[in-house]
């Protein structure tokens, strides 16, 4: 059965190679039949990858340990859900999974987009085949999931314990649906550059499309931080480690792109920015996966141990150089159609938005690759960790929040003083009141004050936008307020969906500021019956016990939470010890969450069979706002991208020679 999987990979490899040639020739020889052939090759690629993935799942679910990958990442006692997730639990399987999702997106593009921009299809298909060809090459030659062992082990090694929880089932799926989806906008960008059709038509198609991977990437990142919070047990959710940064980088450029595109659509400006942003978004997904998989951050030399590293490096270099060449040779086509009418305008804030996102991305990339760079150019390897990122990115992100408040208040093209006064009055007043309130409550630190102040200003801006929008609709159409509110979304889907996304962002910002600046922690080693305090709470250790699960032992502490002497809850922080990997115990945090704060308890260790246990406790104020804000963000994205029935446009003929009234 494993051979079937491998055979299918090889056939796909040949098919995608053909697809590249067919696409390229189709354009230069002007042959629609070759375009159609290349398109069909994408369908075949998608179908064959589905077969390959189905085969690997079959091997995992039937415990076929003759296959090296199955033996390395599964075991008989593994719960079925994790056997399914084991498909993306290891290097080879996850690369196969990546290629499979690329197949899905490619088929979707070939199915739904082929009639939109026929002049671009040939090269769009060629580029998609090119990316597929690369990944198939990596899988076949450097990371074959169907490799066989010369013997049949009795049982497998089991899945990495860190991956055996619900978040880790969903998080890679979300990330991959995010990363890989950006291949399609990239294909369109490259096709438009190569063919010279750099008009603004394909942008509208691509903007709607790009929302989908952006949506999934956001979910993936949120799930990853939630996992870190619940499983890693250090009280936080984001440590700026290379793997986390790898997922954030394309999100930053992707978000910038989604905004910047609005300017090109309306005013034909920022064309070069948009090309660069699409390319970077795609390129950073490849860089991110290269960093995560190759171990290159730990040491420059580690990456050559497997063949994957060099292959990715070559791909990154070739695509970067190719893109730069295309960009420079097509530069005259990318000239702006308009100029900025005024410095104080919404267009300027969008430009500033691009710059800020680019800066955050740049600092993050620099900090992440600093160990490699310093090792290459100096004798020492210097690491850069959370404090650097927090100190640099924190203020820049605060600036971004302020921009989120200012941008919607400015009109397109030009703002003048009367308009500014009317627009900014209430948001500024609200912000100032918030700052005063904070100072009165005792806060003296600059950053929380700036942070909360900006958040309040954005909130006020959003309320004002919605209120004025509803009022304007009611005046024009005499609708009742609730209908007007709903119709705002139907008629201005992107704008108001986007506002909900911004609302989600500021709710998350509240969570970030609260847990970041007001966290309280404590630790203690307690004998049975002893207590520790944290904030207004008391935690009493009542004893240690053990439960048996299918493939691990669950050691849990019984802890009673008290406030003012009254018991509130029983908390059970755990340590899971997996049979196959006893040296890698995983802690399971006991969490009591609420709107005001999270109480977070970790079982750090125990002695004498549980007579003494050591704990680490945290109070994370407003932490739940982060997750709730994430949900709001997701909801807003859904609103923005939901296909809604459009009103049919009625064309109005203007007689020749007529001049419209101005």
């Amino acid at each position: 059965m494993a051979d079937v999987g491998f055979v299918v990979l090889v056939i796909s490899f040949v098919v995608t190679l053909y697809g590249i040639l067919a696409g390229v020739l189709a354009h230069h020889w002007r042959r629609p039949d070759l375009v159609e052939s290349s398109r069909r090759a994408l369908y075949v690629f998608g179908a064959l990858m589905t077969v390959a993935v189905a085969v690997l799942w079959y091997l995992l679910l039937t415990d076929d340990f003759t296959v090296e990958y199955v033996a390395g990442h599964s075991e008989r006692a593994l719960p079925t859900l994790y056997k399914v997730a084991a498909l993306w639990g290891g290097q080879e399987g996850s690369l196969l999974f990546w290629t499979f999702i690329l197949g899905l997106y490619a088929v979707a593009a070939a199915l739904f987009l082929h009639e939109r921009h026929p002049e671009l299809n040939a090269y769009v298909y060629a580029v998609l085949h090119g990316i597929a060809f690369f990944f198939l090459a990596v899988v076949i030659f450097a990371a074959n999931p169907f490799a066989l062992l010369p013997f049949r082990p009795q049982d497998g090694n089991g899945l990495d314990p860190l991956l055996q929880n619900y978040w880790m089932v969903a998080h890679p799926v979300g990330l991959y649906l995010g990363y890989i989806g950006f291949s399609v906008p990239l294909a369109y960008a490259i096709a438009s550059l190569i063919t010279g059709n750099v008009g603004n038509t394909w942008l509208k198609t691509i903007r709607r499309w790009t929302l989908v991977p952006w949506f999934f990437l956001s979910i993936g990142i949120l799930l990853g931080s939630q996992w870190a919070y619940m499983e890693l047990g250090w009280g936080g959710y984001w440590a700026w480690d290379p793997v986390e940064n790898a997922s954030l980088l394309p999100w930053l450029t992707g978000t910038a792109f989604l905004h910047s595109i609005m300017i090109q659509e309306r005013r034909g400006m920022l064309k070069v920015w948009n090309m660069v942003l699409i390319f970077l978004t795609f390129w950073l997904t490849i860089l991110g996966t290269f960093i995560t998989r190759s171990g290159v951050i730990e040491s420059v030399h580690a990456f050559a141990i497997s063949n994957i590293g060099p292959m990715f490096l070559v791909f990154l270099a070739v695509t970067l150089l190719g893109f730069l060449y295309l960009l420079f040779s097509r530069y005259p086509l990318l000239r702006s159609e308009n100029e900025l009418d005024a410095i104080l305008s919404r267009e300027t804030t969008f430009l500033l938005n691009n710059v800020i996102f680019a800066t955050i991305a740049f600092t993050t990339l620099l900090g992440t690759t600093w160990p490699i760079l310093s090792e290459l150019f100096t004798a020492d390897k210097l690491t850069v960790s959370a404090p650097f990122f927090n100190k640099v990115n924190g203020p820049i992100m605060a600036g971004l929040i302020l921009l989120m408040a200012i941008c919607p208040l400015l009109p397109w093209r030009r703002a003048n003083w009367t308009v500014l006064k009317r627009q900014f009055l209430w948001p500024v007043v609200a912000a100032v009141l918030a700052v005063i309130l904070l100072v009165v409550l005792g806060e003296r630190r600059g950053w929380p004050i700036l942070g909360f102040g900006s958040v309040v200003m954005v909130a006020a801006t959003l309320v004002q936008e919605f209120a004025r929008g509803v009022r304007a609709r009611m005046r024009a159409t005499k609708e009742p307020p609730w209908t007007a509110f709903v119709m705002l979304f139907r008629r201005n889907q992107r704008r108001y969906g986007g506002y909900i996304v911004h609302l989600g962002v500021i709710i998350m910002a509240v969570g970030i500021i609260g847990s970041g600046f007001y966290q309280v922690d404590n630790q203690a080693a307690l004998k049975v019956g002893e207590s520790m305090t944290i904030g207004p709470y008391t935690l009493r250790y009542d004893g240690l016990a053990e439960r048996r699960r299918s493939n691990h032992a669950e050691v849990y502490a019984k802890v009673t939470l008290l406030k003012d002497g009254k018991p509130l809850a029983l908390m059970e922080p755990k340590r899971n010890i997996y049979d196959k990997r006893p040296e890698q115990p995983i802690s399971e945090v006991a969490l009591r969450f609420g709107w005001k704060e999270d109480l977070y308890l970790v079982l750090a260790g125990w002695e004498k069979g549980g007579e003494i246990a050591s704990f680490k406790a945290y109070i994370n104020p407003l932490m739940s706002w982060l997750w709730f804000g994430g949900l709001v963000l997701i909801f807003g994205a859904l609103i923005a991208m939901w296909p809604m029935p459009q009103r049919r446009r009625v064309a109005v003929r203007i007689p020749k020679g007529a001049v419209p009234q101005t």
């Binding site: 055979v7 038509t201 009317r422």
Partner: protein, 159 residues
Amino acid sequence: MLDALVIVFAALVAAGTFLFVLQPVLTQAVAVSDEEETVETLEELYAQRDALYRSIKELEFDYRVGKLTDEDYQRFVGQLKRQAADVLRRIDQVKEAQATIRQRLEAQIQALRHGGAGSRAAVVPETGGVKPRFCPQCGAPVRPGDKFCSQCGAPLTVG
């Protein structure tokens, strides 16, 4: 034995793929004609028109919620409407050119259907551009492809 099955499976999949992917090439297709080029330009123009309509709509909305002064609104909306009129004009031009090409092709097809020595079919201009033609009998203008004058009914000859 398993290997043999795998080989058979591989051969079947490869053959099926081969046929499916190459079918459009093996059954010939038409090359890109002039018409397709104007279709591309038309798509681009429609997209420009739609983008301008959207901008006008947005400007109106911003004005209604009070982000623009009367003066700025009038100026900007005027600019946009002028640009939109321009685009609509160009769309009309392209459509006319398309119609002309279609008429020409029609006429060529007609000529091929009824062509042959001695027939009294209308001649179709081989080169581009439509030259106005007149009935030799009554002088009324005739459309290209007409075999009889629509005014006096005289048959139209080659030439």
